[in-house]
């Protein structure tokens, strides 16, 4: 269980808190969609959940152990994060890039083991990237690159997946198929995904976390005109699917 308890965070000591008093849990097998307007701290929250950022007070725990007390390589075997696409990518091939996702499992001086190659092959197949395996990632489209980054996270088969707009660059058909794929992953990870796609969120989330401008978190079991208006303004209600 990945748990945040009474968490406060700000980037600079004298500035107001970006996130204040946040508490929630992410369990294996559930899918939570995190929604909020730009600049409310959604990516920051992901950074706190994967241990890249440290809270000013409160705690982030993985199965009861404080995240900062878990060695980096061990933590990476439990939690994988898909960040927004980096502006520039080095010239790895797709296969090399996905193998990079296996870093915590790779021997430091040896070559990747058979199990690593097998995991990469399976993940490439899962994301329909097998035909691209030898291609330079810089030659791929934005949507294809995003699938590669997703593959680099899925290749570790971690119990928890944190996704920062994982389908933003995908076309509508691919977006739906990727979300279906995430929901049907055989090892049933707990998924926390940032999204601005209200319609897709309604189809795939088990529940919702709504991050307001004051850094307060609200839990919701359904999206409705009231909470969407509070989050984005009344124009955004247009994207809500009818119940």
């Amino acid at each position: 269980m990945l748990e945040i308890h009474d968490l406060f965070f700000r980037y600079q000591k004298k500035s107001p808190f970006l996130l204040s008093g946040l508490s929630f849990t992410l369990k294996e097998g559930e899918c939570i969609m995190l929604l909020g307007a730009n600049g409310t701290g959604k990516s920051t929250l992901l950074g706190l959940l994967n241990g890249r950022l440290q809270p000013e007070s409160g705690s982030v725990t993985l199965n009861g152990t404080n995240l900062s007390a878990i060695p980096a390589r061990e933590r990476a075997k439990w939690i994988a994060t898909v960040h927004q696409l980096p502006e520039e990518l080095p010239g790895f091939t797709v296969e090399e890039m996905v193998m990079l996702g296996r870093t915590p499992y790779l021997s430091r001086l040896g070559t990747p083991a058979r199990s690593d190659h097998e995991a990469v092959r399976t993940t490439l197949e899962l994301l329909e990237l097998t035909d691209f395996a030898d291609r330079d990632v810089r030659q791929l489209s934005g949507g294809e690159r995003q699938r590669v980054m997703l593959a680099a996270a899925l290749v570790r088969q971690t119990p928890y997946l944190l996704l920062d707009e994982p389908t933003a660059a995908a076309d509508p058909a691919r977006r739906i198929s990727l979300l279906h794929l995430l929901k049907a992953l055989p090892w049933k990870p707990g998924i926390l995904a940032i999204t601005h796609d209200i319609t897709a969120a309604q189809d795939f989330a088990d529940r919702y976390l709504l991050l307001n401008n004051g850094g307060k978190l609200e839990t919701a079991s359904a999206l409705n005109a009231e909470n969407i208006t509070r989050l984005y303004g009344k124009d955004a209600v247009f994207f809500l699917k009818s119940p």
Binding site: A80, T81, F92, E96, L100, P104, R108
Partner: protein, 311 residues
Amino acid sequence: MIRSLLYLSAVVLIFGLGLCAGSFWIAPESFESHQLIVEMRALRMAAAFTVGGSLALSGLIFQALLRNPLAEPFTLGLSGGAAVGAALAFLTGVYTLGIAGVNLCAFAGAMAVLAFVLVTARGGRESLLLTGVITGTIMSGLLMFLLSRAESAEQLAGITWWMLGDLQAPEKTLLTACGIFLIGAAVLARFFAGDIDALSLGSSHAHDMGVRSKPVLLLMTTLASLLAAGTVALAGIVGFCGLVIPHVIRRLHGQSHRKTVLPAVLGGGVFLMLCDIVSRLGEIREIPIGVITALTGGPAFLWLLNRRKGV
């Protein structure tokens, strides 16, 4: 494995060629009658290999960590610090104690700049890069000032020649130390190759893959800088090798540092040994090694770059 054997064969072959070639040719059967010259040439070949390998490995690490294809061993201003150290050695008369005195002053200058950059830079690779470049510019200004204070043509010529790189008289103890350090650095770089790969995507991605970004960045930056400073102490400033060879190696072996660390060391060594052989083919006076590295490596790199687009 086959590629590594090819590189090692090239090292042995070119080392042998370096013993024979020079201002006059010495056939292998005449080695005994020219023992002193052959020994000097062997020492130069060993120094060229060590300097070339160190610069290429240093450049490979810097380009990945700084995520900048133009990064090279002296990007953090080390060459400026070294040049100021060497200039001070020439101006204060330390050079009369021998070339080792100059080179040790240069090493101290490079180390002082490295310490300054590491202490001053805050906030990751961009800060490191900018602090290094600005420090290098300050060192250039200081060097110009020192050059303007030179009192004799001998001092000026000494500084200029040193700045072009010089493998004529490598100091044996220093060469041994640099050689051993290169082996250790190559093993360490190979150990952290996966971490360097991950860091080349940025610190957020590296963190996600279980890499402790800050300590690894600091360790690898120090390692790459020490490699560069070692070459400065051994042979002055040899440019271009540390910029071009990593690109060539990546073209041949791909982006993963698991596959490129050893080829970079061997490829850089081979390249500089070849350059050294060319530099001493002139009958009257040697051409500075830095001139050869730029004139041969530059066009070769441009050809490679334009043969297949994108570095």
